[in-house]
């Protein structure tokens, strides 16, 4: 066992850091560091910059245009990006639909979709959940009926994150009612510009438009948009859910937030002292530091396990989201009553009005509210514990 990074890994980190220093645009970095959400253009601009460098998809193998990094290198890359204030790249294309296409798509599909994901030209969203089928995916009802060389899709998807920006959606659809509920599901790629698709916003509890309902009314989808075999979509969906492991833990992001939180604690007045001098607050910070360290090491254990990711991998989603939520909560509590104010216009960098408290206070409560989603979306933490109990512990 050796917990030190190899010299090669240290050099790699330096290289990433230098690249970020030279190439991450200041306006983007400022936004991210102030915890203001980047818009579509910014996300695409940053993806293009990474793409030009050959780093568009840290987790992709070389044959598809990825850098072919080892898991630890990927982690280093993500951590440095987060610390530098780079916006999160979009998972839906890069880490969700792409691995499925790579593993189960045909050559034409690979040729057609992967390059446009890599460059950021296509914006993908996810069509999994439906009203009534949240964590219980197998009960989904959106139907695709084969008519000649098309499927006719009817139904409704929901919780479609950033669907309002997307030009493609990957969907689980029901192509058969035979057998078990899981057995009649197919994996379909759908152009969002096809007639009959209607995207309607869902406003989240922080007042933001981030998720959507997507309605399908006799939407014609060419059969060549089917990935793999008809009625085998459940297999691909499970592959996808199992594929993303370290991403769920989000360690890089949380380390960057922890760093900022410590800075805030050193800046934030707390009556006649600064907040870091408040033992009770400091203890909570310390507790979270410890938990984050344990998560980080667990991620590294999973990534470097020579037997491949073992059962420990299943805990990353739970701990990652719990720690993330605790960080946002502590961020809110750090600014205290200044978090009360809800001034949506102040979420723009160039907001000319006066703020309440420090700029850190502006997004604090909204973020905390918004981040309650972490333990719900992507398979609720209750479902994750079911999985650990049943699949890992064999109960």
């Amino acid at each position: 066992m050796d917990l030190n990074y190899t010299p090669e890994q240290a050099t790699f980190r330096e290289e990433v850091r230098r690249f970020l220093k030279d190439n991450l645009p200041k306006d983007i970095r400022d936004r991210v560091k102030k915890r203001l959400r980047p818009d579509k253009a910014m996300t695409q601009r940053w993806q293009k910059i990474l793409f030009d460098k050959g780093w568009g998809a840290s987790s992709w193998p070389k044959e598809h245009g990825g850098p072919g990094w080892s898991p630890v290198e990927q982690l280093i890359f993500e951590e440095e990006c987060a610390l530098a204030g780079a916006p999160r790249q979009l998972d839906f294309g890069l880490r969700m639909v792409a691995p499925v296409i790579m593993a189960f798509g045909n050559e034409e599909q690979k040729q057609k979709y992967l390059p446009r994901i890599l460059s950021g030209e296509d914006w993908w969203c996810q069509g999994y959940s439906e009203p009534g089928a949240g964590s219980d995916l197998a009960s989904l009802k959106t139907k695709a009926v084969r008519e000649g060389d098309h499927y006719i899709v009817n139904g409704q998807k929901t919780w479609t994150t950033l669907g309002q920006h997307a030009n493609w959606i990957f969907c689980l659809v029901r192509t058969s009612n035979e057998g078990k509920p899981q057995e009649g599901i197919s994996f379909l790629l759908i152009d969002m510009n096809t007639p009959g698709i209607d995207v309607r916003p869902i406003i989240m509890l922080d007042g933001e438009h981030e998720i959507n309902e997507v309605y399908f009314d006799n939407v014609k989808v060419p059969v060549e948009n089917l990935v793999g075999e008809e009625n085998k979509g459940w297999t691909y969906a499970k592959f996808l859910l199992g594929h993303e492991r370290t991403g769920l833990a989000n360690v890089g992001q949380w380390k960057a937030m922890m760093k900022r939180l410590r800075e805030i604690a050193e800046e934030q007045p707390d009556g006649d002292r600064v907040l870091i001098e408040n033992t009770r607050f400091r203890d909570r910070l310390a507790q979270l530091e410890i938990e984050l360290k344990a998560l980080e090491l667990t991620v590294l254990r999973v990534l470097t396990d020579e037997n491949g990711p073992g059962p420990q991998a299943s805990i990353l989603k739970i701990r990652g989201t719990e720690i993330g939520q605790a960080l946002f909560e502590l961020m809110m509590e750090a600014v205290g009553p200044d978090a009360l104010a809800h001034i949506p216009e102040a979420l723009e960098l160039d907001y000319p009005g006066s703020r309440v408290g420090s700029p850190d206070a502006t997004p604090a409560a909204g973020d905390y509210f918004n981040m309650r989603k972490l333990s719900i979306f992507g398979g609720s933490n209750e479902i994750q514990r079911n999985i650990i109990a049943q699949r890992v512990l064999g109960l």
Partner: protein, 379 residues
């Protein structure tokens, strides 16, 4: 020792809840918030007619002579319906302070108009950087002939924009070593600037900038430099009221979550049949019940002049209520699944209110610290 409501209390609670259920539904509340006003006139008038506005004011000023236990009933009902009207600022805080420490002239001038719903008050005490520390006051008082000039900035002032009078704290020269005095400032006094904003839970709050605001000796509340006990008692009463409001919100949130899990189907059955969810709700129920007990404790002590006992009871209550509100709020959202994080659900709004109640007048950590430090012999 008796925790039962009197017949009058029971009647008032029933009619208030009926009124709110009929006239202050989720949609109506949204409209009120969207209108961007500090209050909804018809609602306020209805409160006045029910006697709520003078409920705790002395009878000689048009009130009913009630106490913090009566406030508890009102605020619990408000919590269930997420009422955003300026009751806490005007009746509980402002009315309470004037009643406790105002001069006869001040009482006669103001209290009857609170009871009738004509005038509003706001306590402008907290300042930027003070976080939860109640005695953090840097607003400057300068003597100017027989008058005084106030300079400073107040923050998170509840319902300042609609208030006819601001109750403003300050220290001579803004020096931390000087004791605190309190003045009644008319809202249209020159130099008073109000920057209003909405809170995440639909209330209206403001920063108040005092730029050479002139007040006279007659505007002072209580004796010179003797304001901290007045502020403390006023704020303690407000904390007790917030605890009661939180209890109402928790009860409503538990009820709506129970409804939800009974109807929401997953894996072929209502999710309320899953044992993990059952136990979660049992714990949420326990948290709300324990909070209710503590809210009653806070209310029973809120009018007391025994400072140490009162403050201890209030801090104990705010700690447990803050912790419970956090637990109940987070778990209710979690059990609502995706729906829980949408603006459409009343549950999400209850959660937001509960979160923000914890941040007002000292969060759970702060008040735990107060109780903890009170255990020291020297305290």
């Amino acid at each position: 020792m008796n925790f039962n409501l009197t017949e009058e209390q029971q009647m008032l609670q029933d009619s208030l809840r009926r009124f709110l259920a009929n006239e202050y539904g989720f949609e109506k509340r949204k409209e009120i918030i969207a209108a961007g006003q500090s209050l909804d006139k018809p609602t306020w008038n209805a409160f006045a007619e029910m006697g709520l506005l003078g409920y705790t004011l002395p009878e000689e000023y048009g009130g009913l002579g009630g106490n913090a236990m009566d406030t508890l009933l009102v605020m619990e009902s408000f919590g269930r319906a997420l009422v955003v009207e300026p009751y806490l600022s005007t009746v509980v805080l402002g009315g309470g302070i004037i009643q406790d420490a105002g001069s006869d002239e001040q009482k006669e001038r103001i209290l009857p108009k609170i009871a009738t719903g004509e005038e509003f008050l706001a306590l402008a005490h907290q300042e930027p950087g003070g976080r939860h520390n109640l005695d953090y006051v840097r607003t400057e008082i300068q003597k100017h002939g027989n008058d005084y000039i106030l300079n400073g900035r107040k923050t998170a002032v509840l319902n300042a924009a609609g208030a006819h009078y601001l109750i403003v704290s300050g220290r001579r020269g803004g020096r931390p070593t000087e004791p605190v005095s309190l003045f009644l400032v008319n809202h249209d006094t020159s130099g008073v600037e109000i920057e209003e904003y909405t809170t995440h839970d639909g209330h209206r709050v403001a920063d108040v900038i005092l730029d050479s605001v002139m007040v006279s000796d007659d505007d002072r509340i209580g004796a010179r430099g003797q304001a901290m006990p007045i502020i403390e008692k006023g704020v303690d009463r407000a904390i007790a009221a917030l605890c009661a409001e939180a209890v109402g919100a928790m009860e409503a949130l538990n009820e709506t979550t129970m409804e939800y899990v009974k109807t929401r189907q997953q894996f072929g059955m209502p999710i309320g049949k899953f044992q993990v969810i059952q136990h979660r709700l049992a714990d949420m129920f326990i948290a709300a019940e324990q909070s209710k007990s503590m809210a009653i404790l806070a209310a029973s002590m809120a009018d007391s002049d025994d400072r140490k006992q009162r403050r201890e009871a209030v801090s104990m209550a705010k700690t447990l209520v803050g912790q419970s509100a956090r637990y109940v709020g987070q778990q209710a959202v979690q059990l609502h699944g995706g729906m829980g994080v949408t603006d459409e659900m009343f549950a999400a709004h209850l959660f937001k209110r509960l979160t923000l109640i914890n941040l007002q007048f000292g969060d759970a950590d702060y008040h735990l610290g107060q109780v903890s430090d009170g255990l020291l012999k020297s305290a």
